[in-house]
């Protein structure tokens, strides 16, 4: 079956989730990947959205982190302060799924501004839950489209700590959680090198060349000694993903009032 770069990225990210994971889900690509995992190899994965919905089982992808569908299908819904205190800060979440406008080689993220903070060229949404998700979840997976404007040598602003500006600060600050352990893009899979914590390419998606990755990465990207080829999406994975996207599109196609 043919597939797109976005599809293999989403499926690659979904595969990283296990049946026993408790996952803090952000909207957008992370939400697609997490719900795909639940529909394929990890039916037992627990999806937690920051609106307070624990073990949500949406039949279509929500547009926001607080769509009614999440609450209606959740095991329980807790107030927002409790979500951040007991569940996130309390260490109950095994995986946090994050994206951002920019990532650097040590997995630090910017979702605040492009340009100067006081005079931004582009004002981005900001931290949201990300700073503490990155701090408190057992591990962090990241999913982003691969281009040089997003994979940068220097972040315009450090919103969310990965391994720190030199790759060592996370450890030095005494943070005990693992931080970013996987970066999935539409070209490849990257993982932090032991000791340096620099993200290096560990698998290329089928048909993607090293040159393509280098050209689309803002730093001098390095490759693992043995670079694997990502297993192509199976028919079952692709069907589940397309079905999820199609039913989501149908569900959100209503007419807006007051337009």
């Amino acid at each position: 079956m043919n597939y797109t770069a976005t599809e293999i990225m989403t499926i690659g990210a979904a595969r990283a989730l296990g049946n026993n994971d408790v996952c803090f889900v952000g909207i957008g690509l992370p939400s697609v990947a997490c719900n795909l995992a639940r529909r394929t190899h990890a039916p037992g994965v627990t999806l937690v959205y920051e609106s307070g919905t624990i073990a949500a089982k949406p039949s279509v992808l929500p547009l926001s982190i607080g769509d009614g569908e999440l609450c209606e299908t959740a095991l329980t819904t807790v107030p927002v302060p409790e979500m951040f205190r007991y569940w996130l800060q309390g260490g109950r979440i095994t995986v946090g799924f994050l994206g951002g406008a920019q990532v650097d080689r040590f997995g630090n993220l910017n979702s605040t501004v492009i340009g100067d903070y006081r005079k931004p060229k582009v004002r981005l949404p900001g931290a949201g839950g990300a700073t503490e998700i990155a701090n408190c979840c057992g591990r962090i997976f990241m999913i982003m489209r691969h281009h040089a404007r997003a994979m940068v040598e220097n972040l315009d602003f450090l919103t969310t700590l990965g391994h720190g500006p030199t790759g060592q600060e996370r450890r030095q600050l005494g943070i005990l959680t693992a931080g970013p352990v996987l970066l999935v893009t539409d070209l490849c899979m990257m993982q932090p090198e032991p000791d340096t914590n620099e993200f290096i390419v560990t698998a290329l998606h089928p048909g993607v060349s090293r040159e393509q990755v280098c050209q689309n990465t803002g730093w001098a990207v390095r490759f693992a000694d043995a670079v694997r080829e990502t297993e192509p999406p199976s028919e079952q994975e692709l069907e589940a993903l397309r079905d999820l996207n199609a039913s989501t599109e149908r569900a959100h196609a209503g007419r807006a009032a007051a337009v």
Partner: protein, 282 residues
């Protein structure tokens, strides 16, 4: 005891120029009708507090109500930017706006501290990020028992908190359910409060003794506005108008189309339009 009022009278008596105001509701139950009334009454120099400014603060900022914004995530969920918020920060239109920027966790802790009568809140957060460098209200302290480095932010104590809820009983007790967000904390942290509700009933009809109920004596005023959360939603009454959230991107991208929409759908109408908008989303 909460006073039942018409929305214009309640906003007029509770929200003054220069106030700090928190209109809360985490995606669910966002008090749009009350926000529109504040815009119609031409309030200025407000400090707007909200975890996710959402469309309601985009509209209020674009209408020139705000002097300052205290927030943690300023996007249109699942859609993209809040263009009026961006225009204010990037180009000072319609007026320059001061920002105090936090994380969600910090905002949640700050409301809880306000509700708990604490001067500040501390938690595990912000370590290694650049946010403390641009927000002097993010500081750190060491736990006196373990020495652990903790982030500290001042409590939120808004002059006015405004929320939307499903219903009130005739004595003015208010029920909310579903994604209850930060609304209880916002009300209990504020000096004055306004709750808009879908309806007033003889019996709140609580299905569990643990349903969130705000006693009448914690609320200053209640206004009945059916549909008052549209295009956000009221669990059990109507769904989130996701199509409107998508449509807002184009409306708000341009100053002129924004002004036209605000004139037609906010300035020249009243709170009674919300009922039919929400009815389309049932």
């Amino acid at each position: 005891m909460a006073l039942f009022q018409q929305l214009p009278a309640a906003v007029s008596s509770l929200v003054h120029d220069g106030d700090s105001v928190a209109l809360e509701g985490f995606t669910h139950l966002i008090p749009f009708a009350a926000g529109h009334e504040i815009i119609r009454q031409g309030r200025r120099n407000l400090t707007l507090i909200r975890m996710t400014p959402d469309l309601i603060y985009d509209q209020m900022i674009g209408s020139g109500c705000a002097r300052k914004l205290v927030f943690s995530w300023g996007g249109n969920p699942g859609v993209g930017s809040l263009h009026r918020l961006r225009d204010a920060i990037e180009h000072g239109w319609p007026n320059p706006i001061e920002i105090e920027e936090h994380s969600h966790s910090a905002m949640a802790h700050a409301y809880s501290a306000g509700a708990a009568g604490m001067p500040s809140a501390f938690f595990r957060g912000y370590l290694g990020t650049e946010l403390p460098a641009v927000n002097p209200n993010i500081r750190f302290l060491d736990c006196p028992f373990t020495g652990q480095r903790l982030a500290c932010v001042p409590a939120h104590r808004p002059d006015v908190a405004i929320i939307h809820a499903q219903r009130a009983d005739r004595a003015g007790n208010v029920l909310l359910e579903g994604i209850v967000g930060i609304q209880k904390e916002a009300i209990l942290s504020a000096k004055r409060s306004l709750v808009t509700v879908e309806e007033v009933v003889d019996d709140l009809g609580t299905t569990s003794p643990n349903t969130v109920v705000l006693p009448s004596w914690t609320i200053t005023a209640i206004a009945v506005v059916p549909g008052g959360a549209h295009p956000s939603y009221a669990h059990g009454y109507y769904s989130r108008d996701n199509s409107f959230y998508v449509a807002w991107d184009d409306i708000a991208k341009d100053r002129e189309s924004f002004a036209v929409w605000m004139r037609q759908h906010v300035l020249e109408v009243g709170p009674d339009v919300f009922g039919e908008r929400a009815a389309l989303c049932e």
